[in-house]
């Protein structure tokens, strides 16, 4: 997938050369553009979400999708912090555009930074799982049942049970 940087609220649509080429090639594949899609998200383990706002979506007859747009890490846990950071970054990027054309190189770097941040966040979460498990507010018997039924660690069982607010069937469904 090619990456395009469009600061939110910018009226200029800058399409990098490579992406332009890719788009032309893809149009030859007989893909149909789907209009009206405002957001595409990829969900990764650990509740990390890569979101593309205002994407261009093409669909092949076989049901394969091609998505163009700027991917942003949308970590549910840090959503607000990210939103603020993104806004600041966008303001910077926007200012950059008015000064020079070389600023487009910034987008891969920004993505790399996002990815690094994402992997760091995931590591932290894993560490938490290995540590002491806080079972307060949960029924130890429920946790036992989930561990027994799904063969997962106690920490995972607790996490799933919390996520589903004590709902046994939903917690087991998520883990199995």
């Amino acid at each position: 997938m090619s990456i395009e940087e469009i600061p939110q609220g910018a009226d200029v649509n800058v399409i990098p050369k490579n992406e332009k080429k890719a788009r032309e090639l893809i149009k030859k594949l007989n893909l149909k553009q789907i209009k009206g899609i405002t957001r595409v998200t990829f969900k990764q383990r650990g509740n990390l979400i890569y979101a593309i706002d205002a994407p261009d979506v093409y669909r092949s007859a076989a049901g394969t999708y091609v998505v163009f747009g700027e991917a942003k890490v949308d970590d549910m846990n840090q959503r607000i912090a990210d939103a603020q950071a993104a806004q600041a970054a966008e303001t910077d990027a926007h200012a950059g555009h008015t000064h020079s054309h070389g600023e487009e190189d910034k987008s891969p770097e920004a993505i790399t930074a996002d990815l690094e941040k994402a992997s760091l966040t995931e590591k932290i979460e894993e560490e938490e799982e290995e540590g002491e498990v806080d079972e307060s507010g949960l029924d130890a018997k429920d946790i036992d049942i989930i561990v027994e039924q799904t063969q997962v660690s106690r920490a995972k069982a607790v996490k799933a049970l919390r996520k589903h607010d004590g709902d046994m069937v939903n917690a087991i469904m998520e883990l199995s």
């Binding site: 039924q149 607010d165 709902d167 046994m168 087991i172 469904m173």
Partner: protein
């Protein structure tokens, strides 16, 4: 995507429906897997089991009779009158996850999910009926079966 989903331009409707059926069947299988391992009378389904059970008996006094819970009549549940009563009941629990998700429900507590004996309900109806069945010990046979 959910908040931005444009129903008018939605594609692949059939796929979505299949996904939904897969989830409903998964849910039924998971629940049944639990009943085979753990006697229903000791099983807890949600944090709100007590509330749900209490409200059920309040709104549907007929379910104080275990036999009424053991075999439910779809025609009564889905009559205009029944639908209204259930709708009011369901809305009391709209805080519960998936409360209005389509869910399979056995009409008879003494049978597995069968083609004839399975009806379509919403999740909170499933909880209400199954919690009542579990409390009356009507599902305990599933463990002994093995």
């Amino acid at each position: 995507m959910s908040s931005q989903f444009d129903a008018d331009n939605a594609d692949n409707l059939e796929e979505i429906e299949k996904q939904f059926a897969v989830k409903a069947v998964n849910q039924a299988e998971t629940y049944w897997g639990l009943l085979e391992k753990i006697p229903g009378s000791t099983l807890k389904l949600t944090k709100h089991d007590d509330d749900i059970f209490e409200s059920l008996l309040q709104d549907f006094p007929e379910f104080k009779e275990p036999a009424k819970v053991a075999e439910i009549r779809e025609s009564e549940m889905k009559s205009p009158e029944g639908k209204k009563r259930w709708r009011d009941f369901c809305e009391k629990f709209n805080e519960i996850e998936d409360y209005n998700f389509g869910t399979l429900l056995r009409t008879k507590s003494n049978e597995f999910y069968t083609q004839e004996g399975t009806i379509f309900a919403v999740r909170i109806q499933f909880y209400a009926i199954e919690i009542a069945r579990n409390r009356y010990g009507l599902n305990d046979w599933a463990v002994l079966k093995k």
